[in-house]
């Protein structure tokens, strides 16, 4: 018998912060995270955004032991209709995307990289917090972690999947103890200060992650026109016992 990996499951609730919908559930996300014996990790995540037109996203995303992206599969449904399915593979000098979308048809993309990608944005909330693994807390301030690729420039990730490149800015507020429905955790409070590199400007996005080195998403909120809130409501270590 071989049980060298660890397994965690989590559920994130999507809530509205708009005054007329304050506290109303507007989506949910369920994930299973496997951390292999060598530190590499793979997440399987199913997301539902109910705001019309609804967005369903299945993603399977793998990172190496240094948290650098290896590959990602994504499938999107928008308005309960097929939008796209694609597979992205990341190498040191390029990234490739094989995709089929309702809008673009069958597309093969190859994207040259000046350096290995530090992170990839697949739009699952559980993976938003992983970008901060590449933030140097000892230095503080706003840090640019360089060029990254997104699966979609849409704020809800509701197009493609196709590559879209931006540079990513990250900020740090401080260390706090945070209580969410899944429990009480020592947490880092981070910020995405907002970016104008998308087709429309993304509002600032506050994120709290665990401070245990796993950067597990705890809660977050997006300001501006979005006024959304996300909270980890279940988190379980379901690693089978060693044998």
């Amino acid at each position: 018998m071989q049980r060298d990996h660890k397994v965690y499951t989590g559920v994130i609730s999507y809530i509205s912060n708009k005054p007329e919908r304050k506290g109303q559930e507007r989506g949910r996300e369920m994930y299973t995270l496997v951390v292999h014996g060598d530190g590499s990790r793979t997440i399987t995540v199913h997301t539902e955004i109910d705001d019309r037109p609804s967005v369903h996203r299945d993603a399977i995303y793998a990172l190496d032991k240094d948290w650098l992206p290896l590959d990602c599969m994504m499938r999107l449904t928008v308005g309960d209709k097929f939008m796209g399915t694609g597979w992205m593979k990341f190498y040191d000098t390029y990234a490739e995307c094989e995709t089929f979308t309702a809008t673009e048809g069958r597309v093969s993309q190859k994207y040259a990289l000046k350096a290995p990608l530090k992170t990839f944005q697949n739009h699952a909330i559980a993976c938003d917090s992983w970008h901060f693994k590449h933030y140097d807390i000892s230095k503080g301030g706003i840090q640019n972690i360089g060029q990254i690729l997104l699966s979609s420039p849409d704020h809800r990730g509701a197009t493609g999947p196709l590559f879209y490149a931006i540079s990513m800015q990250l900020g740090y507020v401080g260390k706090e103890k945070v209580t969410v429905k899944a429990g009480t955790f020592d947490a880092y409070h981070f910020q995405f200060p907002g970016t104008k590199e998308l087709l429309t400007e993304h509002p600032p996005y506050e994120i709290w992650t665990t401070a245990d080195g796993e950067f597990t998403f705890l809660k977050g909120g997006v300001a501006g026109y979005m006024q959304t809130y996300y909270e980890l409501i279940e988190f379980k270590d379901i690693t089978p016992p060693k044998v």
């Binding site: 018998m1 071989q2 049980r3 060298d4 990996h5 397994v7 499951t9 559920v11 507007r26 949910r28 369920m30 299973t32 496997v34 292999h36 014996g37 060598d38 590499s40 793979t42 399987t44 199913h46 539902e48 109910d50 705001d51 019309r52 037109p53 609804s54 369903h56 299945d58 399977i60 793998a62 290896l70 590959d71 599969m73 499938r75 449904t77 308005g79 309960d80 097929f82 399915t85 694609g86 597979w87 593979k89 094989e98 089929f100 069958r106 089978p240 044998v243």
Partner: protein, 245 residues
Amino acid sequence: MSLPNYLQRDHKIIRGRIAYTSNKPDRMGHERGREVFTVTVHNDGRRSLIAHAEIDDRPSVLRFEQLNLDAHWRPTDAFIRISVGDAFRGSGWFRFTETEAECETFTSVEGRISQRWSLNGSTPMFGGHAIANDGWCVKLFDLKGPQTQTLPRFVVSSTDHRGATGPSIAMASATISLVDRDKVTVKAGTFEALHFRFGEVHGLPVEHPVYDVWVTADGNYTFLKGTVGGYMMTAYELVELSESL
């Protein structure tokens, strides 16, 4: 209570957990793996499966599968990622049309491969080796036809019995029998069930032992339980089932 118009929840969810146990005399009943799956059934009948499976028998196999069917249960696309012995083995994306199956894959053995296989009509199913996916394969059996039928050939991600190679395109079929229609009780509950037996699987390099599968009779073909004989001596049981995340 009806939803406000700005919210859209047209789909249904089927979420489950399957326990893998051994039937070998020296390991009888011991857990040897597990699988969690989520099925999304869209309003027009299309359905998606996302599954995570773990086989503990050394070398361990971890599988991540995502499979999509159209409203007629024909596969449109799929994805498989596997680790064997807790090390990366392969990651591949499949797409199916009326005339072709394609696979874009990267494996630790073969490297980067693009496969294009001509098809005479779309593949009637895809076998990605998740046990929940096995339940879907028996949908190919015509319940109004003879008791024993040889299924049409369909695309599988691996011809290994544990699905521990590739992923890449291979073709297989099976001769299966409808054994019984009965009520079945598993840890997840009691269900009206169809009991099938895979007597022979065609297209594999090594003969697969007889495989008994029970699925729900409600049209969703949700895997309820199964046993494999021969050298494998394995058992599978649905231990949790829900209709929400």
